[in-house]
Amino acid sequence: MKKRYLALLCAIVITLILVTGIGIYLKFIVLLPLGLGQEDLAVALPFRMLADEGLRYSVRLAMNATDPPAAAESTAAPTTEETTEATTEAATETTAAPTTEPTTEPATEPTTERTTEPTTAPTTEPTTAPTTEPATEATTAPTTPPSSAPTQPPVTGETWRFIEPQIDFAANGKGDAWFDDVLFIGDSRVVGFRDYARTGGAEYFCNVGMSVFQVMAGIQCSDLGFEAQSLETLLSHRRYGKIIISLGINECGYPLSSFRSAYAELLQTVKTLQPGATIILQGILGVTRGYAGDRSYFYPDNLSRFNEVIKSMTGNGVYYIDPNTLFSDPDGYLYTSISGDGCHPTGKYYRMWADWISYAIAQLGI
């Protein structure tokens, strides 16, 4: 009897030590040098590597990027800047007191003084450390002011009220028939389109938690018109006239450089397999202030860095639309009143979003 009791205890302890060992190896030897896994506990990493094909893919990607020729290039290119950003970001997040309101900072427009002197800001004001990401604004412009949505007056210093746009998007859009040969590729936000705003005969390749890494790693999805299969298989067997890619919120904690290369690869795959298709890249919609909390990778300035990357890939039949002009307040956060969970608009706003896509595309003159 006693042997049995000991056996369970020992089995758990021994496997725990083993897994921890593997985790420490993964964390300190494999992942940290690539700018990944800063926030993960070592024990968790073997499981994350097992479960997340997107993570495995981004590791492969980052490993390739550190090959000698690429590394030589990156010393001068902005990639180094980004990887160091990612690590300092994580460092400030863990050390600084996140109770300081992250809400006040992004309201102030990024000024030129701050962008030119990125290193001084965190040292002079240590309390605002989690929100200051001075280097980020150096490369990216602040989010474009809302053009189609009317400007809203602030209720208080930090909360903005969503006012329904006056434009009738559906009437001024492309019409439902335009969507008949559309394929949406995306994360949970596209799942919302699929479930609550199916438009025309559009098809949806999407999953909750989807990332470019997962798409490129060959994750399988299904929709009404097709069985579970990878994107590559789907695109090889069907013709689409337009492809709308809406990814990025699940990647915003990863280094920007791996996002850039994975996104470029995805775009290349899509172009190769669907040479005739018009490709529309959708910018990453922000989350609410409350949802972002002290997670700086959800802050608008970080998301706009990612959006700049997406935007930089336009041209030659590839277009960019930014849903933040519709659903984000002037500070770049998702309006609280249109979201139940802080990350997604509620069901009825997906209809508006779908109509807005139609409208935004019409505005582009496609």
Binding site: L6, V43, R48, P98, G340, D341
Partner: protein, 447 residues
Amino acid sequence: MQFNSIEFLCLFLPLFLAIYYIFPVAWRKYLLIFGSLLFYFFSAGQSAPWLGLVWMGVLLLITLATWFLGRLLEKPGRGWLLGLTLGVLFAALAFCKVFQGGAWLPPGMSFYLFGVSAYLIDVYRGRLRAETDLGSYTAGVVMFPKLLSGPIANPASLQYQMDRPRRSLEEIHRGLGELILGLSMKVILGDRLGSLWAQARTVGYDGISTGFAWLALLAFALRLYLDFWGYSLMAMGLGRMLGFHLPRNFREPYRAKSVSEFYRRWHITLNQWFREYLYIPLGGNRKGTVRTMMNLAIVWAATGFWHGVGGNYLIWAAFLCLLIMNERLWLGKFLEKSRVLCHIYTIGAILLSWVPFAIGDLGEMTAFLGKLFGLGTALNPGDALPLLIRYGWLLLAGCLLATPLPRKVWQLLRRSWVGDVALFVLFWVVVYFLATSAQDPFQYFRF
């Protein structure tokens, strides 16, 4: 730091237990105090270390003060001192709950103060001798298995156990089993049922279909049960591994034949506390029907407030209180006669009562209630079916766990090595789930 976090399971607990078992029994209370304070620091200081230190200080201060007061209260005729103490403690608790939406309420303070005040009252009543040893007292009130979310342990039993710490491999093994089973219920089933409930909010209560609303409500009911029962089982198991018996908090509540019985089986230690230290001192049911009803109303108002300051908790408590009054006066006789109807009534009433418990905003609450009864428009009338396919087996497993069957199966299994293999597998499945999904704190930590 929660029991269902990787940090706790794979780091804090193994290290603490190793130290705890290596050192002699006599040192254990000090190790327990040290470990519990560390645990509290990590839990309370998650957002900022200084906050952890402040709350730890507050905890120690109250512990020291109540230990001293306990000794004073042992002398007869000091009712005024007891009244003053309880007044100050509960006023402070109420203030912290109300002020800035509870932002200044130290974690677990509701549970902690209820335990401490039970001790003081029992000492004053002469049912319990005041603890002379500060170390034993502190270890008893701050021990980490029950510090954050109960169970609210009977102080007398803990005091007794403190002097006679058990240690046997069998107890450790049994405790480990309870810990793993509780974790599994919480992590493998509860959390994921919680995400079904959360999806209703994501889509918006005004947009979901009636089928979705019922699925979501069922998911919430099961999630709350598995989450909190799982947590209580974990606490029991941890207690047992350290050599203490903590009281059981749940006895298959969904088996109950009436709402009154449900609450004798649900969060038992809290409801017993209210019974013992509020309902009975008020006169209970011995002073006529009118007084009984009044006492019930007072107890339920307090229960509602204990759960939260929001008006929705008062609606929840008032709804339950009316049902219980009705059962006492009229309905009870009919329920006793029936075999099936009483269950349908109880489960239906409890499910409906969770609506105000779950949804704080009055407008959203009525929208959801309307949805349950087919009012309003659904954006996608067919949205329940994919959910049923995806979450069907979780809902089924959850319903099964609300019956006595799993307990009976487990009692057979745990006597053989099959049970151990199951525990081992479950442990790693839980760690896998925790490692690969975002953390979702216990609903009950807020209180």
